[in-house]
């Protein structure tokens, strides 16, 4: 029996994420519990962790820091024990070393890179809507170019190109999926990206 835990630290719409994982499990006969929690014991016994994130980078980082021991437990899960970890949107951005959103803020630093504002170039901001995610290398997560749903104004500028698993064009080409071993981060919202989003979730869980 698997246990997928969606980390609860006061960030926005985590219900949709939970429902999408439940839907995927049901449709694919995957035996799993899907819980929303910040309980360190529940996190420890999970098989998969999902870190959602909405709002500003610093608000999200502060939300994580507020719960004593949470960041250490996440580190233990993803870096020490190398278990499957998925960051979504700002949850993906927090994997970076740091962010330049409204000042300078340190991130978790698990995947080297900096969060920077998308260049304006007369494009509407935030980058909102469906856009192509193009895989740059083979992975379990996605195999073909498809549209996924984005809402963001900042992007993950990877230092090591091998961490850039997929890219998307919006004024510039940016990393829409980052990956390092067992750790994945998606800039878009798979839980809002219809059947292809659910498929990505299935690939992460399987």
């Amino acid at each position: 029996m698997k246990q997928i835990t969606i980390i609860d630290y006061g960030s926005g719409n985590v219900l949709s994420a939970q429902k999408s994982f439940i839907k995927v499990a049901k449709e694919n006969n995957i035996e799993t519990k899907v819980i929303i929690s910040n309980n360190l014991f529940e996190i420890k016994k999970s098989t998969h962790l999902v870190l959602p994130g909405q709002g500003s980078f610093s608000t999200c980082m502060n939300g994580l820091k507020k719960k004593p021991g949470l960041i250490d437990e996440l580190y233990n899960f993803a870096i020490v024990r190398k278990k499957p970890f998925l960051g979504i949107c700002v949850g993906m951005q927090m994997l970076a070393s740091d962010s330049k959103e409204n000042g300078y803020h340190k991130g978790l630093g698990w995947i080297e890179g900096t969060i920077k504002p998308l260049p304006n170039k007369n494009l509407k901001m935030p980058h909102m809507g469906w856009n192509i995610v193009k895989p740059l290398k083979e992975s379990n997560l996605i195999s073909t170019s498809m549209d996924y749903y984005f809402v963001h104004s900042y992007y993950f500028d990877c230092i090591n190109k091998e961490n850039k698993l997929a890219e998307t064009q919006y004024g510039i080409s940016f990393a829409s999926i980052v990956a390092k071993e067992n750790i994945y981060g998606v800039q878009f919202h798979p839980e809002k990206s219809s059947s292809q989003g659910l498929n990505l979730i299935k690939n992460f869980v399987s």
Partner: protein, 251 residues
């Protein structure tokens, strides 16, 4: 590049879907969760619920509708209608809505745009603008299109962007329910001054109206109700038509 979005809008009253012609003559057209699911499975890029319930108690019904929808529908969901406080917004987002559309209360209290976009992020704050032409100017109407606020639509749209709105849902009161196409003149003027996405609404009746909305009106998204609800045009037909015309949309 980001794709043009096709958004079916469901008017919901006391937990049931209805749709008015020129905001009058409501006709029952079913269960909102089932309809949202149907649209999501048939190519909708987003779903919009507009709550037109008259009483406060029935607004709680909407929260349940949103919660049930979030269990079945995995595309973005916008909810509007009668939203007047940060608490309203919070409870809808918590129930699974992705964006909140504010209309009359933003006119009465523009500060709600600023406060809510700072608190929840501007990506989830849509401001709905109902505009009607009077001589050579468009004016903003509130309360379901019944009250002329005296505000010039273009001035208001400039202001709401400064306040932190994330998107504009622009409805032409003159065109709504007429099936004679979007008010392209209004739409083009609004798109020109908008640094945030503009959703065009009101008047769509034929396939080429969708095309005109994108090409002539420069809309980022197209919203329609009756043509979809009464099966006059399907979302797939709209998308097939737009693809043929070289418009970038999600397949």
């Amino acid at each position: 590049m980001v794709k043009v979005r096709i958004i079916p809008c469901l008017d919901v009253k006391d937990g049931r879907v209805v749709k008015g012609i020129n905001f009058l003559d409501l006709v029952d057209a079913g269960d909102p969760v089932e309809q949202a699911k149907h649209y999501s499975e048939n190519g909708a890029d987003e779903i919009c619920f507009l709550d037109i319930s008259a009483s406060l108690e029935n607004r709680d019904t909407m929260i349940n509708v949103v919660r049930k929808t979030a269990e079945e529908v995995f595309i973005p969901l916008t909810v509007g209608g009668g939203i007047s406080s940060l608490d309203n917004i919070k409870s809808l987002l918590k129930a699974g809505a992705d964006k909140i559309s504010i209309n009359s209360s933003a006119i009465n209290n523009p500060n709600i745009i600023k406060k809510s976009s700072e608190y929840f992020g501007n990506q989830c704050i849509v401001v709905a603008v109902d505009a009607k032409k009077n001589k050579n100017d468009w004016f903003v109407y509130s309360h379901g299109g019944t009250i002329n606020t005296g505000l010039f639509a273009l001035d208001w749209i400039e202001k709401l962007q400064k306040l932190g709105a994330g998107e504009i849902l622009l409805t032409s009161m003159d065109k709504d329910g007429t099936k004679s196409g979007f008010d392209l003149d209004l739409l083009a003027k609004v798109s020109k001054i908008s640094k945030i996405p503009v959703i065009a609404s009101g008047g769509v009746g034929k396939l080429h109206h969708f095309y005109d909305g994108v090409v002539k009106g420069k809309a980022d998204a197209l919203l329609a109700a009756s043509v979809f609800h009464f099966n006059e045009i399907s979302i797939k037909e709209v998308k097939d038509y737009l693809i043929k015309k070289d418009i970038k949309i999600r397949i």
